[in-house]
Point group: C2
Chain length 267, copies 2
């Protein structure tokens, strides 16, 4: 049960619209969106807005992000009842926020701006700790894959994921769900491993994504890196439109929403 567009906010209240650039450690959250009784990023942001502005206002996020997913540059908008100079807003809200969320920047935006509908693109990074030993200092923002991954093969496969394609096989939603088009455009899918580092970073940039799509793309690239499927199998996945032939959905812990692009840019 979600309450994202719940009835407790019967009317959109007027006010100054502001956009918030938010960083959070998703480890101890049920996700971005308000869930009954669970701790969500949206709810702690709404509490902080209430504490600073004295009125309950709805926060509209650019994306919901699942439980455990992190963000370095999540964007929301909210209509606040009065103006605070935009450079003072982050500090005001941050004193009311728990240590695993912070507002990095705030901007006054036009009253027609919408964090979700106006988003022109998002960049995610999936971080894999790729060594026999489990992670420790980085444990909250990586996923552990012990066996050595063949990053050269992963890079080859990553190139096949770029472009405008039918990503049905990479979505957790049923193929029968026809309300959402499975055609998506990925501008960039890159696999990087720095010399001397144990972390493999998969960067995915696209206009919009299907449910669990980045985590399934990461899981498919991991399968390629482990030799469980071939690079050519990845090409065939688009034709098959069969979720069962793609890699598994990787754990949320490794995924971070790095930034959201707007045109013109806000932050």
């Amino acid at each position: 049960m979600t309450a994202g567009d719940g009835n407790e906010f019967p009317m959109k209240k007027p006010g100054m619209r502001i956009a918030l650039l938010v960083e959070y450690d998703g480890t101890d959250f049920s996700g971005f969106q308000i869930q009954k009784s669970d701790r969500s990023v949206q709810s702690v942001l709404e509490e902080a807005v209430f504490a600073v502005y004295g009125e309950r206002r709805r926060i509209y996020g650019c994306s919901r992000t699942d439980a455990g997913v992190h963000a370095r540059g999540h964007v929301s908008h909210v209509d606040v009842p009065f103006a605070i100079p935009e450079d003072r807003i982050p500090a005001a809200l941050n004193t009311k926020l728990p240590e695993d969320v912070c507002v990095r920047s705030a901007k006054n935006v036009h009253s027609s701006f919408h964090a979700r509908f106006d988003a022109a693109g998002k960049r995610y990074v999936y971080r894999i700790y790729n060594t026999g030993i489990r992670p420790c200092l980085e444990r909250r923002i990586v996923t552990h894959v012990p066996g050595k991954l063949d990053t050269d093969r992963m890079r080859e496969a990553a190139m096949l994921l770029v472009g405008t394609k039918d990503f049905t096989a990479f979505s957790a939603r049923s193929e029968k769900d026809r309300t959402v088009s499975p055609i998506r455009t990925m501008r960039r899918v890159e696999v990087k491993k720095d010399l001397g580092s144990d972390t493999v970073e998969i960067t995915v940039e696209g206009e919009s994504f299907l449910y669990n799509m980045v985590r399934i793309m990461a899981g498919t690239l991991v399968y390629v890196g482990q030799g469980k499927i071939d690079v050519s199998d990845v090409a065939a996945l688009f034709e098959s439109r069969d979720r069962r032939k793609a890699g598994k959905t990787m754990p949320a812990s490794g995924l971070t929403l790095e930034d959201v692009r707007y045109d013109p840019p806000i932050f």
Copy 2:
């Protein structure tokens, strides 16, 4: 009250000596060394050794590290009652260790090897999150300094800290404590800030250190970066031998013991 050489281990028990390369997130520890009733890295390591080897054995660490200080490459030695292939030791111990500690590597060493006395050098990094907004994803391993630091001046001052000198002014111990020589050799003190990053990293490499010395050196460089003291004041600190004229002791959270050097190398 410390129990580092306590009476519960009346005799050094014979056995195979192994060295352990250990990573830990110091946030929730009272430090490396066993403290009555508090949670220490040493005690959780000794519990893991007991669980794997079936006997209580004393762990000897290369350094104590204070409460809240982290390590990516702390080294300990312990005499275990029987041999396990060294490449299997980390996994065996890691299943018995909490998520904020892990053994990255284990090596069989000569029975005369001592993690602390044989250490030929240590490298620490002090990480400062230098932006107006408090840290979030990195909050456990950095210290927040909001006002912009002048890293050029800090670099100038850092060069003055290199060499063999009387570091009395940089030690939390009283000048009257003559049991420990205040003369130390710093091989490298560097200030780095990557383009586009908000983190200033101070790297300090030396043979050995006085109590709180790295944190006071970091605090002194921060004072220089804030313009509270001049670069020339740093030179005068060595002459003055006056702790009160140096910078404050920076919080433990920003400090990480990155690695320990042995000659010949072990790991």
